[in-house]
Every structure is written in C-alpha cells, then in structure tokens.
Symmetry: C2
Subunit: 156 residues, 2 copies
DNA sequence: GTTGAAAAATTCCGCCG
DNA sequence: CGGCGGAATTTTTCAAC
C-alpha cells in the first residue's frame, strides 16, 4: 500500500494547486514552484500511477442545471449484513451522487440531487423505499451549501 | 437568474463528458459530438460565463494522502438564528470539506477529513465544540465510500 | 531534475450558411 | 448569430543528458 512517505513537499504543492483548479497548465505550476515543466509532468505521472490522483471533475452549479434540491438520506437496514446487496441497488439510482457505509444512527448515508420536491418524493417512495432490506429512511434537505472545497494538505 | 432553457443538448453532452473527466481535450469532445473544436470552446466559454461551470478539481485518494477518517458531523445549534455566525467559524477549520444548512434533526451538517481517530477527537473537542452557539454534535464515521460521482444529466 | 524539440491542444479570427 | 476551418500561440510529452 502506498502512503505519504513517498510524497515530498513538491508533490504536495503540485496537488494543492491542482485540487483547487485542475485545468491550470503544468507550465504555470512549474513557474510558481521554480521547477521545470518536465518535472511537474513526471511528478503528476507518478501520482497517477500511485493512485493518489484518481481523476478530475468539472464543478457545476447544480441549481443552474435545474437540480434545486440537494438532500441527505439516512438509511436504516433491516439487518446490517444486507449492506452490500442494498448498496448495489442504490448504485443504480442516478440521482444518488455519493453513499457511505457509516457507524452511528444510520447504516448507509447517501447524498442525492433532485430537480424539485416532487422528484425527491418520487425518488424516496418509488426507488429507495422499494429496495428490499431497507427498513426506513430519514431525509435532511440542504437549504444552503455553505462550504464545498478540497482537503487542505499540510505542508510537511 | 440563468436556467436550463439556455442550455441545449450539445451543452449538456459537453458537460456530461467533462463532469466525469475534466481533462479530456476539447478536440476529442468535438470529434465525439461531430462538431468543430472551436464550437466546444465557445460553448464552454458560455457555460463558464453563465456560472454553470464553476471550475474543475483534481480527485485525490484521501486515504493515500494520510487522511484515513472521513466523517459526517451533525451540529445542533442553541438557536437557529446563530447559523451564519457559526458557519463563519466552521469555515476556518481546514478539515471541514463541506457544510450545509439543513432541515431535519441537525441545523448544520458537515463533512470532515481527518488523519486518524485522535485527530478527529481533537477536532471535535477543541475546534468544533468550542464554537459559541453550538449546543451539541453527532458524529457518523464513514467506514467505506461506496459511491462518489457527478450528477447524471438527463438528455432533454 | 533539466532542457529542448516534436506533437498536440488551445485560442482567436475571418468567413459562411 | 451560431458554427466552421485554419493559423498563431501555448501546452504537453518525451527523449537524452
């Protein structure tokens, strides 16, 4: 398993820059960090090969695309060993953008994006509650997204 | 306010491709969608100007960077009108990657990334619980990230 | 880690339907 | 006006040092 010890300050500085904006040219980063463009390229190649970098994504404004309701759904299972079976069903629902197996109140915790309240209601009653093994769910509706940012890497 | 009516099928197809991988060259997208590279460029410029595209981010494997514990923290406020004041304090904590104002059990719902359980314990007791206006918190630890993907845009 | 040169992509602009 | 095509500029990529 690969760990931090393989990463030096330069690797982390490159990552910090690209985590905020993946489209910054390597040549710009090279200038900022006083190394050559080739070096940035080699480091990124290494980080990709190590699996530290998994890819890049465009950040979009869900509201402007018509997805007005972001909500979190806490799922209670009938038995906790149903987790894998249930998560496979959840994966088939495109509105689910993330899902975690968690300790605490819920067994599964998912984030979903819906167009409006009707869409959310249908999703809950017809798609999620319909999954075998789910006992009940609790929904938290996000009224405002106050923070959404990448991890801050420490310098050392 | 800008809405979907300004976006046609081509815009959405471009977005769908880039939401999965922001580094795909515009020329490749142009080939896939049978338009010129210039057109993809113009559309993306429009989408950025409209604020539909907010930026791009590198996806990293937090575990490989030494952040082993992802958890969700539900925050109960003493009074709900303390929201803005509290969220400003929460913003100052770098381990918090997202936070939402929510309906339901909690007033604020945050996601945090910590290096280990000790780091999480310190964060909770010394940084979060120390914020004035927070009554109590509930923590859900994510044992496994099963799904993490962009919204699926519908074709129409 | 660096350099430099070839290949590719971005970006801009004039032209056309 | 939106889309196309080509040319100038930048960036990526890769070999040799």
């Amino acid at each position: 398993m690969t760990k931090i010890q393989d990463l030096d300050k330069l690797d982390k500085e490159i990552l910090s820059i690209l985590m905020k904006d993946a489209k910054i040219p390597y040549t710009d980063i090279a200038k900022q960090l006083f190394v050559s463009g080739g070096t940035v390229h080699v480091r990124m190649k290494k980080l990709e090969d190590l699996g530290v970098v998994k890819g890049s994504r465009l950040e979009v404004d869900a509201t402007k695309l018509g997805y007005d309701i972001t909500s979190f759904i806490g799922i209670f299972l009938e038995r906790s060993n149903l987790y894998h079976k249930v998560i496979e069903e959840v994966k088939l629902i495109p509105e689910v953008v993330s899902a975690y197996y968690t300790t605490g109140n819920y067994s599964i915790f998912a984030k979903v994006c819906c167009k409006d309240t009707m869409h959310l209601r249908e999703l809950l009653s017809e798609r999620i509650q319909a999954i075998e093994g789910i006992q009940r769910t609790e929904t938290l509706i996000a009224l405002e997204e106050s923070i959404n940012r990448p991890i801050t890497l420490t310098k050392d």
